[in-house]
Amino acid sequence: MKDTLLELKDLTVSVRQEKKEIPIVKGVDIVIPKGQIVGLVGESGCGKSMTARSIMGLLPPSAGVSGQILWHDTDGTVTDLTGLRENKLRKMCGPKIGMIFQEPMTSLNPMMRIGDQVAEVLLIHKLVKNRAEAAEKVIRLLGEVGISDPGLRYRSYPHELSGGMRQRVMIAMAVICEPDLLIADEPTTALDVTVEAQILKLIRRMCGSYHMSAIMITHNMGVVSEICDSVYVMYMGRIMERAAVSQLFERPLHPYTKGLLSSIPRIGANPEYLETIPGNIPELGKEAVGCDFCIRCSEDEHRCFFEHPQEEDAGEGHFVSCFSWKRGER
């Protein structure tokens, strides 16, 4: 595939806990095309963050990864990131892959001026000759991510900035080396709604102007609809459904996706009643024989409990792992 940037093939992540291997991500296949924003949606604890972290090698030491993470470089070479040595991978973090974290309050070093923190990235990868040149670049980028008076703000400490501003600084840190891929791990969850919209717009704009692809991890379907080109819906470490955004919103096939979509509060709907998916995510490590979702599913059949559904092509680039999707379509 010529337009692919990153390919996760049968990625499995498991964590050792009390001498037991607990699988968190179970054989996930994801393709990130060049220049596209791909959403990864699911409830808390479904393995979406772990999937993204495994790309950058940011997993806890107790975690084990198998499968392939194939990076298609601009010169045509393909490297498997899981096999890379630690220092080689660190060299990619920054110039090739950037990451934004969920909590802007704690993801900046409280003892370091924000400008120095952004400049640090350039200095690590020796992309500038000296600090002065780095500062000049940083100030330009700080202005670009919407920080007013960047020359003055360069010398601010994180606690002097609001959450939205700090997230802008994080974005500047992630994109300063002009990476090919931006991983955003719930970048707007800790922000309030008006700021959320601004940050999403900013991410979209940065992706456009730097020709970046992005992985957008979120549990918010609204965020997906605003920013993503395609979506992967994850549940219990597996991909349940994947499609282009418009497809997924128009024609959700998996009962879990339908549940997620109907859980979005709508103005005008009955305000007394908020749709939910019944039940909770089962305990980690308790492996189901059949479909992981069967116990919470509203369309379950007998075989859902004994057989694992394979991914089926529903046409128009829409794939779903469910036995009853055809029946659900009607």
Partner: protein, 286 residues
Amino acid sequence: MKKTQKQNTGSDILRRILHNKTAMISGIIILIIIALAVLAPILSDYDETSQDLLKRLMPPGNGHIFGTDELGRDVFTRIFYGTRVSLMIALIPTALAVILGAVAGICAAQFRGAADFIIMRIADVMLAIPGMLLAMVVLYTLGGSLASVIISLVLVEWGGIAVVVRTATLEIRECEFIEAAVSTGAGRLRVIIRHILPNLVPTLIVLFTLNIPSSILSESALSFLGIGIQPPQVSLGLMVGVSRQYLFQSPHLALAPACMIMILVLSFNFLGDALRDILDPDRRTL
């Protein structure tokens, strides 16, 4: 619960110190004592070792503010020369112990595994032996002198500091900004120097000031016992120790240096406490 953002930038800390009465008063007292110790030769007409055997064990007054000791030496002068030694003992071994403890603690927390185990078990062994006993063993083998007092105090103190630094480092490295730094390609050494160390500085400052009083007291005790500083060098503890024999005839001989020890220790203690309150965001009341 949302974690409170630490606001430990330089100007911020200075402002809070200036607003804290305890810190200010104890700090000023310490500065005065340091000035007196440094300026001792100028402030006093007497020499700390010159004897005047005709004027032995004189009560305070008659040109000797605190009287004279059993060899007719001026006690007032000797206190300030003794304070010099005490301050040296307060600062040098404590600083060395903090550096050693910080390196050990950071290494243990950062490398975990075998390194962590070995470093922490050594620290545990050091902590398990009573400090005074350990210092006495070291001094007995090395002989009493300023250098061996310093070595023994470093050995006694680094273990406790390493334990605290290790815990603090473990807490810092779990912070998201460390992960963010790694995600921008920062290597291990860079993470330690640029991100962990600056965030440890408040902890290290507090550890330093809180360990100073115990250093002073240990030196005084060791000198009192006669195995620390040796005459003709002067030390506050040594002065108290020698004047023990004349306690009933001339109590001022023991009282004056003992008061000095008390003032020094209390000032550093109060300063340490105040700094801990100032630098620790969880204890701070706004």
